[in-house]
Symmetry: C2
Subunit: 374 residues, 2 copies
């Protein structure tokens, strides 16, 4: 059971799809599969953006693709940093040559919209980037107010929704998001390996108005969409790179399963699993690190009680077939990160996990007390 910060366990149907007979990346059947993947991915991102594809790299690669296409050397980029993945957005922007201004808050907190407003008033900003669901802290950064502010200041709004997409509402068009990037292996429930991205018309205009080609060929959007198509149908396709056909088979199937379930029921299932987990942990005397007002449902950051050995508990759980994640950076050794993503956001999974964790903690305490007595 993969209950860490991702990957989650894919549905067997998804795994099976990856083992299906391959066709080539230019086969008419695969070109149709690409179109269907784009259509379903748009539904999941809640956008009408044509430019919506899985990048042939992991989620990080998708975010790099966004940053390197939208940012030109010297551009000012404001990055909201509420944890590790916000820092990473800032690093990506710096690699793309941006002048980066970070808005930082202590880990566990989120950024009030006023701080974004203040930063936008300081002078022209090309792009504002924030993390919607910060996997290192379990914090949910609301986007609606920020999206409006960024649009009012005529900047571009980039959202990292790696952990949220498919597990809680992500409304690209409604929230004035110009570009968003996610991953395949968390709430969407496919294996890791693809970086789903979407680009709105303002983002594409910025790409077309670049003074020079981006410092990447593999992630160059203009070349990529010669292959994924500009909406002209199968004849409109030119080779760029050989698409990861098997991975896209699996991803396509994961999207189909998600839409078949329905996004709202899927979000409700993630919330219900989270609530059941919080109650179960409380019954074990454990508490969540993230303040209740902005807790994520799919990524639960649990305080490690005093005297409990982080690594030992995680090893014991792994021996029982359950993986959870440790803490990152300032939270290392202080928290566990428990993911309830995709197929794992169920009562049965939560109950099994809480039961096993309870037993592991009890045994560790008994061993510790025997040792003390000896």
């Amino acid at each position: 059971m993969l209950l860490g910060p991702g990957p989650s366990n894919p549905d067997p149907v998804v795994a099976g799809a990856m083992a299906r007979p391959l066709v080539s990346h230019l086969d008419p059947f695969f070109l149709r599969t690409m179109d269907e993947t784009m259509r379903d991915l748009r539904a999941v991102f809640r956008t009408v953006n044509h430019h919506t594809i899985p990048i042939s790299a992991t989620g990080t690669g998708g975010l790099e693709a966004i940053m390197f296409n939208l940012v030109e050397p010297g551009d000012t980029v404001v990055v909201g940093v509420i944890g590790y993945f916000g820092q990473r957005l800032a690093e990506l922007a710096e690699r793309a040559g941006a002048q980066v201004r970070r808005i930082e808050v202590p880990w566990g907190e989120i950024i009030p919209a006023e701080r974004i407003a203040a930063e936008l008033r300081r002078g022209p900003v090309k792009l504002v980037a924030v993390v919607h669901a910060e996997t290192s802290t379990g914090a949910h950064q609301p986007l609606t107010a920020i999206g409006r502010l960024v649009r009012e200041h005529d900047a571009l709004f980039l959202v990292d929704c790696v952990t949220s997409l498919g597990g809680m509402p992500v409304a690209v068009d409604e929230w004035f998001v110009d570009a968003a990037g996610s991953c395949s292996q968390k709430c969407l429930g496919a294996p890791p390996g693809l970086g789903p991205v979407t680009f709105g018309p303002r983002a594409m205009a910025a790409v077309r108005q670049r003074r020079s080609a981006p410092a990447t060929w593999y992630f160059d959007l203009e070349l990529l969409f010669r292959y994924w198509g500009e909406g002209g149908g199968p004849k409109d396709r030119a080779f760029h790179h050989t698409a990861p056909v098997a991975a896209i088979y699996g991803f396509r199937e994961a999207l189909r399963l998600g839409l078949e379930e329905g996004l709202e029921p899927r979000f409700a299932r993630h919330r219900a699993a989270h609530e059941r987990l919080a109650a179960g942990l409380a019954a074990l005397g454990l508490s969540l690190f993230t303040p209740p007002a902005h807790r994520l449902p799919m990524l639960n950051v649990v305080r490690i009680p005093d005297g409990v050995d982080d690594g030992a508990v995680r090893r014991d759980l792994l021996a029982r077939g359950i993986e959870i994640g440790g803490g990152f950076g300032p939270l290392k050794g202080k928290v566990w990160r428990v993911g309830l993503m995709g197929a794992n956001a169920t009562t049965a999974v939560v109950d099994r996990f809480v039961g096993e964790l309870g037993e592991v903690l009890k045994k560790r305490r008994e061993t510790a007390s025997v040792k003390r007595e000896a």
Copy 2:
């Protein structure tokens, strides 16, 4: 049957491995799988280079990773262009900020070592890049003499062995290759999605001596090897991105199958399939485009006879379950590209293909002659 320029049909064992239960990218089991993958990939590249991994992107991404780590803005890079994929190496180098000097020959030809020598004498060169097996023309560029020359001039030698690796000898250490990049889906016989690369000590020294960080975070070697390890074992690993676990399962299995067969027997199998195909095509009155002196075994470029409709024949073959490739650039409409890669380099596959192609050509000729008479 995928007889185009790749992907080839993976062995069912490889496809099955991709559908195996996932573990996370930091699971001790997966860290061991990474080490085993590196070990077997070194054997395939014939190198002792520690820095030998599958990049989490397709073959093109792997080549971008090499170029962006080795080249700094302003560096002089010499690129041998014997077809489309040589042009692409030149484009990658330009995106990385290099001053590129191209050595070009007509499509179908190869570059004599003397031309590389002349270019190296013109002034300091940071890196020389060539394509070992040019998929657009079916030409085999010999590397031994060039490798010695490049080393004598103290430049770095980059080889694109996307199409050759696993199907004909690639001897990274013996040929003085400092960095090489391939793909997963051709002669190695896994699905597309990974970019196997290797970096020798001189390449890694160049990376460590960079004046500034590379214009990529996703492909930054220093960050990547914090995750893949610098040889210190499993404790030596830090998160960089979530590895494509399922794809690496499949790739690991493909490498294992290849080494189990043995590299020399595998190369002999590819040569034998090529010879049988050449004889079969000759019996149909068809000839190969590439001069015999430097023909690749795994990628056969066949002249389309006068009056035969390129697209129609490929569609007819596809309807019979056989995919072959069309021509690129100046060879568009003039040639077919027939790949005999990995599991498809067998007598049975060649005989079926030659038989079906013969029937398709016969039927098309009959239809054409009926039309003429009517």
